[in-house]
Symmetry: C2
Subunit: 218 residues, 2 copies
């Protein structure tokens, strides 16, 4: 998908680089993200990128922060649990739409957008009147749920498209049945009948939110 050669050459900026890199990773995955190819995509020399990003790692940090910027913060006026549910749903949707991002999220340092998002969650929990220890633990529980759940879910979703899922599952199941893992075989079968991951995401989130509420009032 080469850029239109008649178009006047756009100035190379950090923002353009990050946006193009995110778009590329969305389609091909981060593993396929290569500096030479990215530069080509932008109609620039490879080394020009390094005038705007320090190196590839720092660039990926920037990409994660671009994604962080797409997440809706919990709304101010709402009851704290509805506000958290809405924001978590937004974060979940954003991470699902950038499938590479959840895994990077866990191992990159937070940039400005993500720091602001962290602060907004902590503010919501604090202003809900939860006890300080519950705010502290609850923050970890909630953020862990958002990215941990999404990573697990994407592991299942990330099957190559062309494959016959029936065959794949059948073969996998056959192996399990014959190797004395009946409960795992049942679980895999259950997965086949359940594609509404959004539902499970909020079911577990509610479990956590209600637990926090209960433990803070106790």
């Amino acid at each position: 998908m080469a850029r239109n050669k008649n178009e006047p050459k756009l100035a190379l900026t950090r923002e353009r680089i990050l946006d193009e890199a995110v778009a590329f990773a969305d389609v091909h995955g981060v593993d396929a993200l290569v500096m030479r190819k990215l530069a080509e995509q932008l109609g620039a020399g490879t080394m020009s990128l390094y005038n705007h990003v320090a190196n590839k790692d720092e660039m990926i940090e920037g990409m994660v922060d671009v994604v962080s910027g797409e997440i809706d913060h919990p709304a101010d006026g709402d009851e704290w649990r509805s506000a958290m549910r809405a924001s978590a749903a937004s974060a979940h949707a954003v991470l699902v739409s950038h499938k590479w991002a959840a895994a990077e999220w866990t191992r990159r340092r937070p940039g400005p957008n993500r720091l602001r998002y962290m602060d907004a969650i902590l503010r919501t929990l604090t202003e809900a009147g939860l006890r300080p220890e519950v705010v502290y633990h609850g923050y970890h529980a909630i953020t862990m749920h958002i990215v941990g759940f999404t990573i697990q879910e994407l592991g299942y979703l990330d099957m190559p498209i062309g494959v016959d899922l029936e065959d794949l599952a059948a073969g996998f199941l056959g192996g399990l049945e014959t190797s004395n893992m009946p409960h795992l075989a049942q679980h895999v079968r259950d997965h086949a009948g359940d594609d509404d991951h959004g539902d499970e995401f909020s079911w577990l989130l509610d479990l956590i939110l209600d637990g926090l509420e209960r433990s803070s009032r106790a």
Copy 2:
């Protein structure tokens, strides 16, 4: 740390390769794991490794499965929550002792040891008499907690050793204070006074286990 040259050359096996690779990653991280260096460590030619592993990715899958094999399964006779707590604590300890493993866990296909572990957790939940939907969701919640929590925790622990943590935290905090993120600044301060991650791990696990119990009886 070269191998003793007087020692008779040990036969190269898949098991020896995986063990050495795990030990290497424990010390230097997976990013530093390089086929040439690993072969050297084993006193073999680089290409000899490929007689026992298909390629580097498949080798890392094998490494994760070696780690999976170190985890204690939930014990049969115990009350289901105590059994799960003990097994989760074991998994947590194992993942902490192989700091690279949690991140790989989320993006590698499960090998035999991990499949057995998955089956054991599902069996425990099923035999506890929980409703099938609660087993299904609960399995995801528990496994998500174990690896998700550990990944987050290691992100904090993974600071380079030589650095002055006081200075680092102070500089980081300063930036936060002046950039209108008081709640995040407070949270970072709270982290400084809390190094007992094991406690928080079980606190959140209990929140989940109790929530499952309650929701299954409802």
